[in-house]
Amino acid sequence: MRIPCPHCGLRGHEEFAYLGDATLRRPDPAAPDAERAFAEYAYRRDNPAGRHRELWYHAQGCGTWLVVERDTLTHEIGRVTEAREQGGS
């Protein structure tokens, strides 16, 4: 795969580290059901077939965490943005 890094251009996937679902948000630790919410956050993952938003880290490049829109069936890559643009947890 080749991933278009907003800073470094189109680069081979071997330069990147994969983390997974970029749609997860770190739960509120003060909420009454925090333990359940954090357990979901830490362990449960959907395994979507199709469009997915994923976190990739340009480890051998600029060190930016990216949100990569990728089709898990075709590996087609859509929008790539910096994770920091999501505004955090």
Binding site: R2, P29, F38
Partner: protein, 988 residues
């Protein structure tokens, strides 16, 4: 023909793309022959009249050449000798060189007389599914008897057992347009794109580009096709944006225009020149690709169609036209298509006697050769073809003597690369073959690979594909003026199978799969293409069924009453041709398996006689043996004692170091670590513990506050990269609003531990006089920047891993070696001793400090005795889940110290802990020893371990059970801190 080389009896006097001025001697099965530059091993053997090249896989039937190209199933030979011996090499792609040594495979004692040919009469034993049926009982016989027997009987050559003496490498290429195959379509595409200025990479498997233009007697613009190809190659060579790679096979199609290719850089020489690789694996990234990989000709299915002397018609033409080598003197041609007539004409032109052209189609030809409407139903011969039995359309049977049968069942596109992304080939009824289906993004297919079986159509398709690629890339491109092509005729009505055959009728020649095997598979219920493939092993040999798979599908379709289209193809997976493991490994072998990192003071450690060990990518000093120390234990004991009694120096440069700055730096640390940082003053250091979000311990280290908004973080050596990445994630993904910046400075600073009661005296001698190192001015856990006496800028941290009065001094990496020498020189009067990782480990175990063995990713802060560090006043990574009942359960295995009851006893890490008097079985397991060392300070072995309810069990005796080392040691459970539990030495 003893002594001296043979005279190439089947070589034509003229013609061909060989250089008769360059004769090359080579050996096959110990006999010397001569060929010419431009030959393959196969063509040279044809020229020398050698027909028998190997024995088949299961039945040990005699086999000769079937093809002239990479799809060859039969002519597998061993090349070279000794450590360079390579089995299963296709003679058809081996470029001849002087001194080549080749040997046939799969025969004993000799090719002509092969004892195991009796397998032929055991045919039923080896029928489809024989692996699953015949050798199943009794089970114990499999390993001892059946498997060795089968391997001996049904082998595919012998591998070399010595280390490969040759080098391999990997390389990367980028282009606008990748053209795969330099036949008519590929050359036309490359010319069109190259003239338009596109960056073109044209890749061809052969050493002579041109594809079938080199193999046919066609005329292009009235000149031999080969001349047009040569002119095209010459022009491509003059175009600055075009690169032609010969001897290179594209083996896989990956995502986003990435292709893998294998370049046989020096396979055509006896050995690679010094410092050059034998093969090179390419990763090619292209924006568009034109696949012009051509097609494979199909054999016809009739009795004993595997006899040496039965050859594909296209291969017969290749040997005659390109290599000027005649595959037989008296030939019969058997084809279900118009190329039968072409073949007959080429053979006549080459001087062969063509005695019959057999074609099941009734339309008569006018080639001057007797034309028989009918089929060959059987080949006749022993070790080679002697004749054929023909069943004419009128029902009459004739036997005709011949030494060559050229057969053709039409062509199948070489479409593997189109299917690597899961695209299914689609059936074309008009052409009677599968064509590429849904293509990978960016790929176009041109020429025979797309069913354009005439040269004229292939040339035009190549131009069209290149124009489309150029347009997509925004380049203006003009079509190349194409040559006029002499008349071509490719009429074809697939025969698929000859009815009423006698003898064995092979479909997959390399795996010895016959029509009867497919019939058996079908009868036993293996009716799906994938099932039939696995049950019969059709298409599963090293040639992956390039000549066999469509014929096999046709037979299966006929037996199941389905169409071929409905039967479908099996899945195509990379690589298209076999790739040596050496090429995949590239330079990553032996010491270069992965990068090796050396610290700044490595040369100094070498001088000191250090024994090194690998820790991650680093090479670190393990211990420093001195004369008279017979084992590592004496050296380590001396190093520990010297450090605890005077002063020792240890290179700790490999620790991860991260410089963190910004107004929110303290807040960032608060969220990263379990403990608090708000009270850490400038000039002070503190131990910190980091969890993962699931509540398990991730890493530990120290954080020193260097300024109001500046901190220096250290990590363990092993987690340096992971912690930095984790921090990047926390900052960028979780808390982008925090105003912090951080950078890894692990490589920028060399760092040395100076430990022992005389550490301050030593530092006093190297630190500039203006700095006060007294206990009051620079107490335990102080951190600061200072100058050394030689003006080197340094950072000093009064931290201790050994439990001694200790410092870590950090200097710019380039000053590292100088500073360590300075420390050693200044410490000489004090008895300074360098110590390595073993002494470091022994001292940290004596002190009860956890390290990598305890930070295993499966331990919690509670397990390691850090429960009290977990702040309850703030949120941090892992805070919520670390509070889960199961993670703070006192019943969990928790950190303890361990000492042998018999003080002379030894025990080791990994031993499991069980109660005394209990059978040491998994159910009785209560934990294990995580670290163990001989303690020079205490004079016996000690250890750390994780023991269920450990902290409540101090004073109890348990058994360390170590079946791996055959030990069972009684241990006393105790506090993990063995030396200076009050920490008095740290603070003097």
């Amino acid at each position: 023909m003893s002594g001296g080389a043979s005279t190439q009896p089947r070589r034509l006097a003229s013609g061909g793309a060989i250089d008769r001025s360059q004769p090359l001697e080579f050996r096959f099965d110990g006999r010397t022959y001569t060929g010419y530059a431009g030959d393959t091993l196969a063509s040279a053997l044809v020229a020398n009249g050698v027909r028998l090249l190997g024995r088949s896989f299961k039945y040990h039937r005699p086999r000769g050449l079937l093809c002239a190209g990479p799809e060859e199933p039969n002519a597998l030979v061993e090349l070279r000798d000794g450590a360079r011996r390579e089995p299963n090499t296709r003679a058809t792609v081996v470029e001849l060189f002087g001194g080549l040594e080749a040997a046939s495979q799969n025969r004993w004692p000799s090719l002509a007389f092969d004892v195991l040919a009796v397998n032929r009469w055991l045919g039923p034993v080896f029928a489809a599914g024989f692996y699953y049926k015949t050798f199943m009982w009794p089970a114990a016989f499999w390993e001892r008897l059946y498997e060795p027997l089968i391997r001996r009987a049904a082998g595919l050559g012998r591998i070399a057992t010595g280390p490969d003496p040759d080098g391999y490498e990997k390389s990367y290429a980028f282009c606008d347009l990748l053209v795969i195959g330099a036949g008519p379509a590929g050359l036309a595409a490359a010319l069109t794109a190259g003239r338009a200025g596109l960056r073109v990479l044209l890749i061809d498997e052969d050493f002579l580009p041109g594809g079938r233009l080199n193999a046919e007697r066609q005329l292009l613009d009235g000149r031999p096709a080969r001349e047009w190809a040569a002119a095209a190659v010459a022009e491509l060579g003059s175009l600055p944006s075009v690169r032609l790679m010969r001897r290179t096979t594209v083996v896989g199609c990956y995502d986003h225009g990435v292709y893998g290719a294998l370049e046989r850089v020096h396979d055509h020489r006896p050995a690679p020149p010094p410092f050059e690789p034998r093969q090179r694996l390419w990763r090619i990234a292209c924006r568009h690709c034109v696949l012009a990989s051509g097609a494979y000709e199909r054999p016809l299915l009739f009795g004993d169609n595997d006899l040496p002397g039965v050859m594909l018609a296209g291969a017969v033409r290749t040997y005659a036209n390109r290599f000027a080598a005649l595959a037989g003197r008296r030939a019969v041609v058997f084809a279900d298509n118009d190329e039968g007539a072409v073949t007959a004409a080429d053979l006549v032109a080459a001087g062969a006697d063509v005695v019959a052209l057999v074609d099941p189609r009734t339309a008569p030809g006018a080639t001057g050769v007797e034309r028989i409407a009918g089929v060959v139903r059987r080949a006749i011969g022993g070790q080679g073809l002697r004749g054929v039995e023909i069943l004419a359309a009128d029902g009459s049977v004739r036997r005709i003597a011949c030494d060559l049968l050229a057969m053709s069942g039409g062509w199948s596109p070489a479409l593997q690369l189109t299917a690597h992304h899961g695209g299914r080939p689609r059936w074309d009824d008009r052409l009677g073959t599968f064509l590429p289906g849904t293509l990978p993004a960016g790929m176009m297919v041109a020429g025979a690979a797309n069913g354009d079986f005439t040269t004229e159509a292939a040339l035009a398709a190549g131009v069209r594909a290149a124009l489309a690629a150029a347009a997509a890339l925004g380049h203006a491109a003009a079509p190349v003026a194409l040559p006029s092509v002499s008349p071509e005729s490719v009429g074809h009505r697939p025969l698929w199978e000859v009815a009423g055959t006698r003898g064995k009728c092979f479909v997959d020649f390399q795996h010895d799969v016959a029509v009867t095997d497919i019939e058996l598979a079908e009868r036993e219920g293996y009716r799906a293409a994938e099932h039939m493939k696995r049950y019969t092993t059709l298409g599963m040999a090293t040639d992956q069924g390039k000549t066999a798979s469509l014929n096999g599908l046709a037979v299966l379709a006929a037996r199941t009453g389905r169409s071929i289209a409905a039967t479908g193809t099996t899945t195509f997976r990379p690589p298209v041709v076999p790739v040596a493991i050496g090429a995949l490994a590239g330079t990553h072998r032996g010491r270069d398996f992965r990068p090796l990192r050396l610290t700044a003071a490595h040369a100094w450690a070498v001088e000191q006689g250090a024994i090194f060990m690998e820790t991650g990518p680093w090479l670190r000093a393990q211990y420093f043996p001195r004369p008279g120390e017979p084992t590592w234990l004496e050296s380590v004991t001396r190093e520990v004692n010297a450090t605890r009694q005077a002063v020792g120096v240890c290179d700790v440069s490999t620790l991860g170091k991260i410089d963190l700055q910004g107004p929110d730096a303290c807040e960032f640390l608060e969220r990263l670590y379990v403990n608090g940082w708000r009270t850490l003053a400038v000039g002070r250091a503190r131990y910190g513990l980091m969890l993962r979000e699931d509540g398990m311990v991730m890493d530990d280290g120290t954080v020193s506050r260097l300024g109001e908004h500046r901190y220096l973080i250290t990590t363990t050596t092993a987690n340096a990269v992971a912690v930095f990445q984790h921090m990047q994630w926390c900052h960028q993904v979780l808390w982008p609003g925090l105003d912090v910046q951080f950078v890894s400075v692990s490589d920028q600073w060399a760092q040395y531990s100076v430990a022992g009661p005389r550490a301050r005296e030593l530092l006093r001698a190297v630190v500039a006089a203006e700095h006060d190192l007294s206990n009051e001015a620079f107490p335990y856990m102080a951190a600061g920047t200072l100058r050394l006496r030689d003006d080197t800028v340094a950072r000093l941290f009064r931290i201790s891993f050994s439990g001694e009065h200790a410092y870590e001094i950090a200097v710019p990496a380039r000053a590292g070696e100088r500073v360590v020498r300075m420390l050693m020189a200044a410490g000489a009067p004090l008895g300074v001793t360098p110590y390595g990782l073993e002494a470091l480990g022994a001292m940290r175990i004596e002190k009860g400090h956890v390290a990598g063995n305890e930070l295993s990713g499966q331990t919690t802060a509670h397990d390691l005795g850090f429960g009290k560090m977990l702040s309850t006043k703030k949120d941090y990574i892992g805070a919520v889940l670390a509070r889960r009942a199961a993670l703070t359960d006192p019943d969990r295995p928790r950190l303890v110290g361990l000492a042998p009851v018999g003080r002379g006893d030894r025990f080791g890490a990994g031993a499991h802990l069980v109660r005394r008097g209990v059978e040491p079985v998994a159910a009785a397991d209560e934990g294990y020893v995580t670290s163990a060392a001989f303690s020079p300070t205490l004079g016996h072995w000690i250890g750390l371990g994780l023991l269920r309810r450990g902290p409540e069990r101090h004073g109890e005796r348990v058994v360390a059970f170590d079946p791996l080392r055959g030990r069972r040691t009684e241990l006393e459970v105790r506090d993990p801190v063995f030396v200076d539990p009050a920490g008095e030495r740290l603070r003097v």
